[in-house]
């Protein structure tokens, strides 16, 4: 029945062995997209969903109305966060490859999204991340040791051994628990924001979801409820072009940008160069202010590229050309911010090298400390009694019985 089939099947631009081709990407020049007032009516700013907000130009200057005009010190902090995130990811990947942890997921290539957004948000704003937002933890200053202990499921694991590596959470830091089920956090963020509005509090919620994950129903729930109640929330689609082995077109990204998904509900969309720290920062400030002032939700699409494999269980060379990352037209967010700082005269290759070494050492030190709290094979271990806690606020009889049973078996 194949020959007659009229079903359309999306294709990525290139498969392994073929030349990467990013001609499908619509890219605006830096500085050209207008920045409307934060109270602009959604229907008057629809073009933002189709253009691409960019601040850093090819000469590493920052231009145009979305330029957030940050102090060089802030930019240096940002660069440090991005570098640290990348080094952390690299180290954790190596640890997994060496059998020290069971699993890992890198954010390489898309670090600017988490770092810029987190820096642009207020500390009271609540983050509902996906699994590729480790940058939030770095930007909000969580100790890497804590993250590593989680990945090791050791005695200091914040999840008490209950979750796979990288499924962090941080109540005090206002970062929500990561779920293995895709997209569930997005309408939860909307609910959180609705509660803030009900209580008359100023905090807003921000949430992140991958391009592929927008196909899940919770994305629709989030847009509907955010639109109906005008919840103070930022919904970020991190379009890194791939969802495991499927190209973003399989989530419907072939025809219109993900930023346009909310327009039909009256939610403004902004498409931004996700590898441009300044553009992401500027857009986030705009959307956060809009939400905080009561003008409702914004959907931001970050155009970026998943430079690494999906996870340590994945082998991307099976489904895409190895060279794609080198050819990615929006470059490397780390490199671009670095060159901008150098262009500003606020950074140098030497300082970069020094910082790099410092961070490498810091990460290694953290890792050593983390390992001292236990590893998969050695050192102190969590008490299996923990397994029965927190199913309920108070342990009911049947779980007490099961806990006692296990104790008996182990004794």
């Amino acid at each position: 029945m194949n020959s007659k089939s009229r079903l359309h099947i999306p294709h990525p631009p290139a498969r392994p062995g073929e030349k990467p081709d990013f001609s499908y990407l619509q890219i605006s020049p830096a500085g050209v997209v207008a920045r409307p007032d934060v109270n602009a009516h959604a229907r008057d700013i629809e073009s933002l969903a189709y253009d691409m907000v960019r601040v850093l130009d090819d000469d590493h200057s920052a231009i145009g109305p979305w330029h957030p005009h940050l102090d060089p010190q802030d930019l240096q902090v940002a660069l440090r966060h991005i570098m640290l995130t990348r080094i952390f990811d690299d180290r954790m990947l190596r640890n997994q490859r060496q059998g020290k942890t069971t699993f890992y997921m890198k954010s390489t290539g898309e670090e600017a999204v988490s770092i810029a957004q987190c820096m642009a948000l207020e500390p009271g704003d609540m983050c509902f991340p996906s699994y590729r937002n480790q940058g939030l933890y770095v930007a909000r200053g969580r100790s890497l040791v804590d993250l590593m202990c989680q990945c090791l499921s050791n005695t200091r694991d914040m999840c008490k051994g209950r979750q796979m590596p990288i499924m962090y959470h941080w109540r005090e830091g206002r970062i929500f628990s990561i779920s293995g089920n895709l997209t569930t956090q997005v309408p939860q963020a909307v609910g959180w924001a609705m509660a803030a509005a009900i209580k008359g509090e100023d905090d807003i919620a921000a949430t992140w979801v991958g391009d592929g994950s927008t196909a899940e129903p919770d994305f629709h729930h989030a847009l509907t409820f955010a639109s109906v109640y005008q919840a103070p929330v930022l919904i970020n689609v991190v379009n890194n072009q791939w969802a495991i082995s499927t190209f973003q077109a399989f989530a419907g990204g072939e025809r219109r940008p993900f930023a346009a998904r909310g327009l039909g509900y009256g939610i403004p969309g902004i498409r931004v160069d996700g590898n441009d720290f300044l553009a992401v920062y500027g857009v986030t400030r705009w959307a956060a202010e809009r939400a905080r002032k009561g003008y409702g939700p914004t959907l931001v699409e970050h155009v970026t590229y998943r430079a690494s494999g999906h996870s340590t269980s994945d082998d991307p060379s099976r489904y895409r050309p190895k060279e794609e990352w080198d050819d990615w037209p929006l470059g490397d967010p780390l490199e671009r911010l670095k060159q901008h700082l150098i262009a500003l005269g606020e950074w140098s290759e030497d300082r970069h090298e020094t910082l790099n070494e410092e961070l490498e050492k810091h990460v290694m030190d953290c890792w050593k400390e983390a390992m001292s709290y236990g590893t998969l094979t050695d050192g102190p271990k969590l008490d299996p009694d923990e397994m029965f806690e927190d199913v309920f606020a108070e342990m009911p009889e049947h779980l007490k019985k099961q806990r006692a049973h296990l104790k008996k078996l182990r004794s």
Binding site: M126, M167, T184, P187, A195, A205, F225, V391
Partner: protein, 338 residues
Amino acid sequence: MANMNMIQALNSAMDIMLARDPAVVIMGEDVGYFGGVFRCTDGLQRKYGEHRVLDSPISEGGIMATAIGMGVNGLRPVAEIQFADYIYPAFDQIVSELARLRYRSAGDFWAPVTVRTPCGGGIRGGQTHSQSPEGIFTHVCGVKVVMPSNPYDAKGLLISAIEDDDPVIFFEPKRIYNGPFDGDANKPAVPWTTHPKGDVPEGYYTVPIGKSDIVSAGTDVTILTYGTMVHVAEAAAQRGNIDAEIIDIRTMIPLDVDTITSSVKKTGRCVIVHEATRFSGFGAELTATVQEECFWHLEAPIQRVTGWDTPYPHAFEWEYFPGQERVVEALELVMEPA
């Protein structure tokens, strides 16, 4: 003390909790201005405002997800799913999120959401307004599961549920919203005014989650049941002239194993009655628990009286519904000498 039907009792519970705790919010389809298709939230929006009692989009998954987010942000949402038959679009948010949030975050995050939903048959609702899906939720770790059988318990249990820091799935047997129903559809409807459990205090009180209720003491056989079937079981025991100890389970998770096993150890016989379909229904767990705990006391196989293993059929409602006749049959079977 006032006389209330179950709808009024539930309404009163929510009214009291909205007044006592500013964190309590109600949300669901048609629950606000209209007061709910069964009128359980009647008048609450007028009294507490549109920001405490929210009409929602027709999206059970969205209701559940946003309720979780609200719960994480310090509110105590009471979400209504209009019919239990429509809870499935919210299933992922309940099972993967609501039930496991506290566990996966090692106690750092939780959402004290109460999910109210009318269930059960006997109202000519056909396959999409009659289901009893409680058994499915009893296999989910991290939620409590409750079903009252009368106005007094309904109010007390709903207040407990709203105050509970754990998620509670609160099933309301809609056939007995307006009066107890003993399974005989040909008899004139009886209002709650004629039933002692229709007397309901107007103020705050609780009925504890995790405790069953011995509805009538007896020595011949233990009947384990809940919801509408409590009344059917009572009528059947009378009709069969059997001195049954009838236990209203009330709370499926956590289950009050002690009350159940003490009774079966005493009577040596057990019949389990529920409306839900038989295969892998909650009666299976009750049977398993009883046979594990009371095996040496059992004098006959435990019998299950349940809905047939088909979708709920509109026209054959009374052939489908496990009525008095079938309960009597099981009671007689279990009383037979070996």
